[in-house]
């Protein structure tokens, strides 16, 4: 209770001007309360010190400088909007930078994918790629499940591979037509022939060529068939593997 009373008294003392006299109740409290008396003495001393700071005079040339400033402002009234215009120019410059950046990023991400595909084809092993075959239905009575030509997840890549390159550049080719091929007469002993290492895969054979400048060409060879005598499937356990 006494603490609250002291707070009220101190607040009242705080709000008084220095030359104002306090009320009778405050004066009575100050006579009885040593803490509030000390507070009042320190507070009064502090306010006297702060009040003694006084007024600082303006420099003698204050009016002259002010006149010069006003005249300068009047002459340069046309430039009052310059800060606003400068801000607008800054915003426009930032927008321009953003637009240029967006165009640059878009160009980087929209570059032709041939380079990437060629790199991928070099890295992947020479496994046969699924491509739609043109063989008639009776020539392939048993389309095996591994034939993934119609697989939905493979189709986009196949279509992309078959898409012609945007920039058509001449392929570098070597002509072997002037060289004679080796002739097999059949008189050689059978032991001299090696067993042909043909894989009896039903998937077509696919070759990818690169001209060294990022242009790719894909050649797809359909499944080989000799009339009714088909190549033995690798899944046949009675047939010797990889033998003709």
């Amino acid at each position: 209770m006494r603490k609250n009373n002291c707070e009220v008294i101190r607040q009242e003392l705080d709000e008084l001007m220095l030359d104002e006299t306090s009320s009778a109740a405050v004066a009575e409290h100050l006579r009885q309360c040593a803490a509030c008396r000390e507070f009042n003495e320190k507070q009064t001393r502090l306010r006297q010190i702060v009040g003694s700071l006084g007024t600082v005079s303006a420099p003698p040339d204050f009016d002259f400088r002010l006149r010069a400033r006003l005249a300068n402002d009047a002459n340069g009234a046309a430039f009052h909007f310059w800060p606003l215009a400068r801000r607008g120019l800054a915003v426009a410059a930032v927008l321009l930078v953003f637009v240029m950046g967006a165009i640059l990023i878009r160009n980087v991400f929209n570059r032709p994918v041939e380079n990437k595909q060629v790199a991928d084809q070099h890295n992947t092993p020479a496994t046969p790629q699924p491509v739609q075959t043109v063989a008639p239905q009776e020539q392939q009575p048993n389309p095996a499940p591994p034939l993934l030509a119609s697989s939905p997840e493979r189709r986009p890549q196949a279509v992309r591979n078959e898409r012609p390159a945007r920039i058509k550049r001449p392929l570098v080719a070597e002509d072997f037509s002037s060289q004679r091929a080796e002739v097999i007469t059949g008189r050689e002993p059978a032991t001299e022939f090696e067993v042909l290492p043909l894989d009896s895969s039903l998937q077509p054979f696919k070759v990818s060529l690169d001209d060294g400048r990022g242009n790719a060409r894909t050649i797809s060879v359909p499944t080989i068939s000799f009339g009714s005598q088909r190549m033995l499937q690798t899944g046949n356990q009675y047939a010797p593997k990889r033998d003709w």
């Binding site: 001393r45 502090l46 306010r47 702060v50 700071l53 600082v56 204050f62 402002d73």
Partner: protein, 213 residues
């Protein structure tokens, strides 16, 4: 308001005599005359308030040259906005409000520039502004004038470390001797807020000036 082209066209009256302009000429009347192009009236307004405004901004910023610049900027704004001035409050309230806003803007600019970098080492945790490293000189001084000078310097430094929201009302009340009502109008806040801030400001100062009390 006339458009000015040269300094001389302003026609300030540097040797304006006090007896020419009577004391009863109110600030409102002077500003009204300024609006109609009377440069002498504006010169009288400047002469009435230049010291007060310069001193007030100096107490706020603790930088005399900057205070002079801001005081001039205050008068420039008064001159430019003379057409839009409304007699809602006293002219002194109006011009002190402009000066307060300019001083607070300057203090915030300084804070952004971190010109008072040393005070960062003494930042308080309760959100109050940093205190300067300003230990009182305990050596005995030989002259009472020196004592007073030292005390005034100390209190000026202590005031300049107060948060700006406490600094302005304390200066307006204890240095300029303005009423709570006028301070509230200048700072555009309530009278209770002004009293509370002044009380807190004095509390801060009591702590900082303990050695001098």
């Amino acid at each position: 308001m006339n458009t000015l082209t040269t300094i001389n066209e302003l026609g300030f009256a540097p040797a304006l005599q006090q007896d020419v302009l009577e004391d009863t000429t109110s600030d409102h009347a002077l500003l009204e005359a300024t609006r109609t192009g009377d440069q002498d009236a504006f010169a009288e307004l400047v002469s009435r308030y230049r010291n007060q405004i310069t001193s007030y901004i100096y107490r706020m910023t603790n930088d005399y040259d900057g205070a002079v610049d801001l005081a001039q900027e205050t008068f420039v704004r008064v001159y430019r906005a003379a057409d839009r001035y409304q007699r809602t409050y006293a002219f002194s309230t109006y011009i002190y409000r402009i000066a307060t806003n300019l001083a607070i803007s300057e203090l915030r600019k300084r804070k952004r520039r971190k010109l008072v970098s040393l005070t960062g080492f003494f930042q308080q945790n309760d959100g109050a502004e940093a205190q300067e490293l300003n230990p009182p000189d305990g050596r005995p001084l030989q002259d009472s004038e020196l004592v007073d000078t030292e005390r005034r310097n100390a209190v000026q430094r202590a005031i300049s470390t107060l948060p700006e929201k406490y600094r302005a009302p304390l200066i307006l009340r204890d240095v300029d001797g303005r009423s709570y009502d006028e301070i509230a109008r200048i700072l555009e806040t309530s009278e209770g807020t002004v009293k509370s801030r002044i009380s807190r400001a004095r509390g801060f100062l009591r702590e900082k000036m303990r050695a001098y009390l």
